[in-house]
């Protein structure tokens, strides 16, 4: 188990290094001169030269890369090229906002998805299964900007239960922000909900047809016990992987949904950075997103092996 964990951590390190090279390389390829962007059109050649000197922009790319990486690891993520403020507090605040949405969304769609998936499996090929499966297919297919707008028009304008604009004040607590979180959380949940329903349904159907479920039935165990200890224990394992992929997506990938609801999350910060050619901000945000993906994947794998004795006792 320890060797497994160490190996996984090793892989994460390699992933992060590769990702940092790609991120750094990509930002180098962005069009426009960074110094020009920072100082504006009318800057003198002397001032531009000073800025380049100050930021190390005239050094070779690999020197810049290692300098950036070293500072990043130390916790110095650099200053925004636009506001000249350190980007770290900004990113962390946005990360917190994104995490709030992620928590609400996960609490909503994971249990619901599992429940509906199991029900569909138990009612396989009956009307209820067909309804649930049909909806899950639609959820997977519907883009967030469509579901988001539908939710706004229904619950913000028609019934006015939740606010249409979710731009919460900086530093607001979870409780304060909660009403603004609900609509975006639902909008971003639907895809994940669809995936979880489909995965849970498929794996539960698989497990229901195994010999050990038949054996458990023939032991005379109560139905609920067969379901909880023999079916779900085994059929929910693949769902863990789907959930972990969802976490990364919810925190870093919600660019469109955050724009629709005007929610100040990490995804929108990236868009903002790109619009302003704020290379430092883009680099730091991208690294944070990669880290979140890696960590949620690691957690999923550890959870998977903890629940699966075949891996646990290797």
């Amino acid at each position: 188990m320890i060797i497994y964990l160490l190996r996984r951590l090793g892989f994460i390190l390699i992933t992060l290094i590769l990702a940092s090279i790609i991120i750094f390389g990509a930002t180098q390829l962005l069009p426009g001169d960074v110094a020009q962007v920072m100082l504006g059109k009318f800057a003198t050649e002397k001032a531009l030269e000073n800025v380049r000197e100050e930021l190390g922009l005239n050094k070779p790319a690999y020197v810049q890369y290692f300098g950036w990486l070293k500072n990043f690891v130390r916790g110095d993520w650099g200053n925004s090229m636009v506001s000249r403020q350190p980007v770290r507090p900004l990113i962390l605040a946005r990360l917190r906002n994104s995490a709030m949405i992620a928590v609400v969304a996960l609490l909503f769609y994971v249990p619901l998805g599992i429940l509906l998936g199991v029900i569909a499996a138990l009612r396989k090929e009956k009307p209820l299964d067909q309804i649930i499966s049909g909806f899950s297919m639609a959820f997977v297919g519907l883009p967030e900007f469509v579901t988001g707008l539908l939710l706004i028009s229904a619950f913000a304008f028609r019934f006015a239960i939740f606010p249409a604009n979710s731009s919460i004040a900086p530093g607001s607590t979870f409780i304060e922000a909660f009403p603004s979180l609900i609509l975006p959380a639902i909008a971003v949940s639907l895809t994940g909900l669809g995936y979880i329903i489909r995965m849970t349904r498929a794996s539960t159907i698989d497990v229901l047809s195994t010999g050990y479920v038949m054996a458990a039935d023939l032991k005379g165990l109560p139905n609920a016990q067969v379901l909880s200890k023999h079916v779900l224990r085994n059929s929910l394992l693949p769902t863990i992987t789907i959930v972990s992929m969802g976490i990364g997506y919810l925190i870093g990938g919600l660019i469109i949904a955050e724009s629709v609801f005007g929610y100040p999350g990490l995804g929108r910060l990236v868009v903002y950075g790109i619009q302003r050619r704020d290379v430092i901000l883009i680099q730091a945000c991208s690294m944070v997103i990669v880290m979140i993906y890696s960590i949620s994947n690691l957690i999923a794998d550890m959870l998977y092996s903890a629940l699966n004795p075949r891996i646990r006792y290797r």
Binding site: G211, A215, G220, L221, K229, H230, P309, R310
Partner: protein
Amino acid sequence: MSIRTTKKVQGASPGLEVRDLTITYNTEDGPLDTVRNLSFKIAPGEIYGLVGESGSGKTTIARAVVNYLASNGTIKSGRILLDGVDLCTKTKKEMRSIWGSDITMVHQDPNKSVNPSMSIGNQIAEMVRVHSGISKAEARKKAVDMLSWVRMPDPSRVARRYPHQLSGGQLQRVLIAIALVTNPRLLIMDEPTTALDVTTEAVILDLIRDLLMEYQTAVLYITHNLGVVARLCHRVGVIYAGALMEQGPVSRVFKKMLHPYTLGLLGSVPRVELDKRDIVLNTIPGYIPQPDSLPAGCIFAPRCRGAEDACRASRPPLVDTKEGADHITACRRWQVVKNTPEKFANPQEKREMREPTTEDIVLDSVNVKKYFPISRVRLGDLIRGKRPVVKAVDDISLRIRQGFTMGIVGESGCGKTTFARCIAGLEKASAGKIIVGDENLPYVVSKRSADQLKKIQMVFQNPDASLNPQHTVGASVARPLTRLKNLSKKVLQERLEELFQSVNLPKEYMNRLPHEISGGEKQRVAIARALATDPKLLICDEPISSLDVSVQASLMNTLMELQNRRGTSCLFISHDLAAVKHLSSWIAVIYLGRLWEIGSASDILKPPHHPYTEALFSALPIPDPDAKQSRVRLREAVPSAVTIPPGCRFHPRCPRKVGEICENEEPPWQDYGHWHKICCHIPLEELVEIQTADEGDLQ
């Protein structure tokens, strides 16, 4: 030690009674009666064997008895009475109180019948708790008691383990423990030893027999293996295409069978104890009919050699023959079967065996080794800087003479198949020489020339996987001819017809696709393909294992005939000692990647045996209730080939271990004459003495 719960009160007619049972499946082609008008009784304490080939409806019957048919199956008519109570009328909810307490079941594949993410102890304990309502701690203690009751070594540790940490034999013990823990009134065992090695099977059968002596449980034992029935059961029912053909006490049905189907089944099994190679196995022609196309008369008539017009006209009823206790048969000519069984047997009884004339060596394998690196690395090994390997084949040298068949036997995981694949070049041997004819062959197939490839051909275990489903079987057989022999179109066609004929397949079959023919026929195609290049050496890796007994028999006859007619030399690999014995003139016994005994088939049969060979022999289920077999049993399963025991690598399991010498020194090869060689520390004279004495005890 007694851990049985108190006896339950039994009803008016104790035991299981199945009355006129008909089971129907709703299929796309309409309803199909897969089991028809079946009746049998099992008394408390009795073991009733239900034998039949695949497709006979055995498992359907088991699932009907427990009221657990697939959703498209229904009991159309009949009653299933347990202690006088009809189970057919119970709802699934009512059945839950009967399942596990009154009826338990042991299934075929132990690996698939246990929950992979629940500890062994808990899987036993949950059963006890549901039916007796005792506390968790008590149930756990009971689980450990039960494990030691089924002779599980180190029961309290095993209780904490998970299924993947146990071997198949150990898991089957666990399932037997689960099935007996509530002291049920009916126990159903559905092929409980089929997935196990023959040595493990023997241990499990002993266990079942010994344990059941103490229980008043009625046992329905379902199997395709007649030897297992002979060893274990009191009474037997022979089932064919969903109907009972014959039923009676085992001693009568196996000795004085009164139905041609039983006769055919028993004649299909090669007998290891009979020292004759010229016997032609008594096969059953044709195939089991589908439930939607049953013949109008006796359902066995189309395959019966003694059928008359009257047999085909109307379906014969089951009749009590009054030939001793409850011996019934569904044959109207049973008196003819009884008096002149030869009328129903294969017309050609004996075969002239041609002895090979040359002394040429076809295959000479010299010190062949195959080590696989282990993909899983442990921290300790990393620190010590060594890479562990699996020694699948560890120094095997053997020779095959032109025209002879060399049989290789051993348990699964002993390296038989790896050795064969090394010879064929499908695995790259790690060391050694593979000499065919007078040529030293490269290790891998891709480096061998067309001429070298022609010399060795192989038949694989699973014909489904070895024939391309997209090609007609004719194209599959033609492929080696065009690729290795460059035949013209006309010659090719002639050669194909000849090949199909030689494996007894009609030439019309050439245009069929693999899924349009049966498993036995597919294997015939595979043999034809292997013979296409006139190989010097034919390697058969478990070619008959996946087939039914009657199909096995006809395939074995074909192989014998081919060998006799063509003089092909053959390397025949099987875990089934009886089949190896039947087909081979020489036998090599292999264990943990090494040879332990080699000799002619008739010499191997007689003492001295290597203790491992002896154990294989005594484990073999012989379809004769009076067969005398010594009871030499092996402990545990084959150890992993990563940590090979020092000294004699068989010593941890050896029933004849003499002492420290076995643990520390590699045994020497001893020669008993006539090229019969044994690798053991025990002097051969001593082995002869103890082994003859053991067999004598049984007389």
